[in-house]
Amino acid sequence: MFSPLYTPAKRRLSMADPFFDMGNAESAISFYTKQEPTSPSHSDISRQAHNSILQSAETPAIVCEQPPCMGTVLCPTLLAFERHYDQMHRYVCSLCNAILPSSYWLDLHIDEIHDAFFDVRAKRGDCMFRCFLASCPKAFANADDRKRHMVHTHCFAASFNWRLVDTGMRQSDESSQSMEIDAVVSVFKKSLRVSAPDAITFGASDSDAQQWP
């Protein structure tokens, strides 16, 4: 039985706790409104002050509009949004547009998929397959040994998406429930990849000449 991440507990809070800021502000505003009940503009202004406090206390969620999130991901704070952005949008392989969840994973991906010498050295028997955790220095001669290490030492799920380092993250879709998992993965791999030309050229060429008026 693994230790629970959340344990029910009573919470005692001191009166200076920021949790009570909104309530304190509301109480204070009602006190000031009562001070001059005959002045309607005064209570109007109090309400404006109140609303601006509430707005800052409420901290509306930050919505991620980037594809593939498209408004379905909400983050409560800027820090959380940055974390989300790092995982879903920042570490994209420029060669194949695979999305990786951290800079370390992107490094692993580039080494293992796009480095021509990787296969050579791996076949030679060098320990090229690094542990998926940046903090662990271990490396293995093949992906299966690494997988065993991840499961037994670092408690990775046996059903983890081991192809993450190869293909990047898959995204979910409403139709996924009715599909086989492999089919799902392949569909989303394609949907993630933005089609890019094999070679990008600048300057006039015969085929490009027609494009610009």
Binding site: S3, P4, L5, Y6, P8, K10, R11, R12, L13, S14, M15, A16, F19, F20, D21, M22, G23, N24, A25, E26, S27, A28, F31, Y32, E36, T38, S39, R47, A49, H50, I53, L54, E58, T59, T72, V73, L74, C75, P76, T77, L79, A80, F81, H84, P101, L133, S135, H154, C155, A157, S159, N161, L164, M169, Q171, S172, E174, S176, E180, I181
Partner: protein, 512 residues
């Protein structure tokens, strides 16, 4: 032909000047500082009529000289004029006015009036001191030397002077541990408690309560004295006497709120024994039910009005200290929590507060109390669920911003874990919300999300839990990403077990 000596005419306020004054006044109120909004200090404003006659230009060093001249004048009228002028400027002190207070002779001059004989001048001077203590930046500490006079003025026959002195002491007490202990050493606490016990005047009672609430703030070296002086009992007696005056009940509740927040186990028992809690519950419930009735009447008679967007809860000022008191008592020992839950109006009040959407602060703090109640024992969870609070918790977790969502989530998780009532919850909806928590990347929310999914898998029969997660788009992906990035071994273990269970189930169904 223009008048010959136009430039000598005293400038009369033109429309533009009046507008300028009004805008200044508006910005004054809009910029109520942290001290007045969050730290419990109170400014005293002049009424618009009083301030109309005074110039509202920026306070310059030459203004300082004018004020000082006025304060030192031999003429009573001139002294009063200077005091009122100073008091008005202190509602929003400029840099040069602050310098005058901190480095100039301001405090010395004001204290001089307190030692004098003119009651009107004493009051105006007290008013200035009250407003000086209402700001931060070392201004309040400058007023500490006036403490003996302030305490002495509590003995005055003049109600207004007593009231203003108590007000100033209240602001001073809020400032810091140092100021509180200085006031205590000068006998302020003792006099305030005596006044609390004997006063018949509702306004003075409220101000004395304000001062005592701030004296009860922690840290302080004398907190236990508050109980030895029988403050809870005195508050309870006054609450019984003034229970029809909601302003008094409100301020008395604040004293209890501050006491409850810092009390030890025995002190919480003392608070429960006085009977004040029952009066607080009675008044709070009546207030919120009156609010609900009023808003129902308003919405049925004004179908076209947009009053719902601008109306604020009139019961919130009383509910907030009530809920704080109850919350900190409910977070005590299990038997203390149970004493509260056993009071029929307690659960009823909590449910009403959570149902009501007119005050966000009331909703948020009630959810906090509910989370402590539901963390206690199965009977208390059952009492709360039977009072039909779950639909409101679900509404909040679906519709509200994250601060309220999180609070509602605590209670829902507690109902599932402590109450063992996961099957009574609308898990389809909740699974969606808790997956959003996992995707939100906020550490605490992620933990709550994973815990809920774990309970679904563990406690729902068969593969019902897995089925629920499968129906949430992005559910399993969020968990997989979590394994890839988390540094925490516990999280990884728990989440891995869930993923294996998820795919393990699916493989079984595919093989069939």
């Amino acid at each position: 032909m223009p008048p010959r000596f136009k430039e000598l005419y005293k400038p009369n306020p033109t429309g533009k000047d009046a507008r300028q004054r009004r805008l200044q006044r508006e910005s004054q109120l809009r910029s109520l500082q942290r001290e007045q909004l969050f730290m419990g200090k109170r400014l005293r404003f002049r009424t618009p009529q009083e301030s109309e006659t005074e110039s509202e230009f920026e306070f310059t060093p030459s203004d300082t000289m004018l004020i000082v001249r006025g304060l030192k004048s031999a003429n009573h009228e001139e002294r009063m004029e200077a005091l009122k002028n100073l008091g008005a400027k202190l509602e929003q002190p400029s840099e040069s006015l602050r310098a005058f207070v901190l480095e100039g002779a301001c405090i010395e001059l004001l204290v001089g009036f307190l030692a004098g004989t003119e009651a009107e001048e004493k009051l105006q001077s007290l008013w200035c001191l009250t407003n000086i203590t209402a700001f931060e930046g070392g201004l309040a500490e400058k007023v500490l030397p006036a403490t003996p006079y302030l305490v002495a003025l509590l003995d005055s026959e003049d109600l207004e002077l007593k009231d203003q002195a108590a007000w100033t002491l209240g602001n001073l007490a809020s400032e810091s541990q140092k100021t509180r202990e200085y006031l205590y050493a000068n006998g302020a606490l003792k006099r305030l408690v005596e006044e609390l016990a004997k006063t018949d005047d509702p306004m003075l009672l409220q101000t004395v309560c304000f001062a005592l609430s701030n004296m009860a703030r922690k840290p302080s070296c004398y907190f236990d004295q508050l109980f030895e002086m029988q403050i809870p009992l005195i508050v309870a007696r006054q609450m019984e006497k003034f229970k029809r005056d909601l302003g008094c009940v409100k301020e008395l509740s604040w004293v209890y709120a501050y006491l409850a927040a810092a009390s030890n186990e025995q002190q919480i028992d003392a608070l429960l024994e006085t009977g004040a809690i029952d009066i607080i519950l009675e008044c709070a419930l009546a207030a919120i039910e009156q609010d609900n009735a009023a808003s129902e009447q308003a919405s049925s008679s004004n179908t076209n009005s947009n009053s719902s967007s601008s109306s604020s809860s009139s019961s919130a000022p009383l509910l907030i200290p009530a809920i704080r008191t109850l919350g900190n008592i409910a977070a005590g020992t299990d038997s203390q929590t149970h004493v509260l839950v056993a009071k029929p109006s307690f659960v009823q009040l909590l449910v009403r507060c959570i149902e009501s959407t007119s005050s966000r602060a009331v909703e948020k703090e009630s959810l906090w109390v509910l989370s402590s109640i539901t963390a206690c024992c199965k009977d208390d969870v059952n009492a709360v669920v039977d009072a039909n609070v779950v639909p409101d918790l679900v509404r909040i977790i679906e519709k509200q911003n994250f601060d309220l969502k999180k609070e509602a989530a605590f209670s829902l998780l507690n109902i599932a874990i402590v109450g063992g009532r996961i099957e009574d919850l609308p898990n389809e909806k909740l699974c969606f919300e808790f997956v959003e928590f996992v995707r939100s990347q906020d550490e605490e929310l992620v933990r709550l999300g994973v815990q809920f999914i774990s309970i679904l898998f563990d406690q729902l029969p068969g593969d019902v839990g897995v089925g629920l997660l499968r129906r949430v788009a992005g559910g399993i992906d969020a968990l997989e990403t979590l394994i890839a990035v988390t540094e925490d071994d516990d999280t990884r273990s728990t989440v891995s077990a869930l993923i294996d269970q998820y795919y393990g189930e699916e493989e079984t169904s595919e093989m069939q």
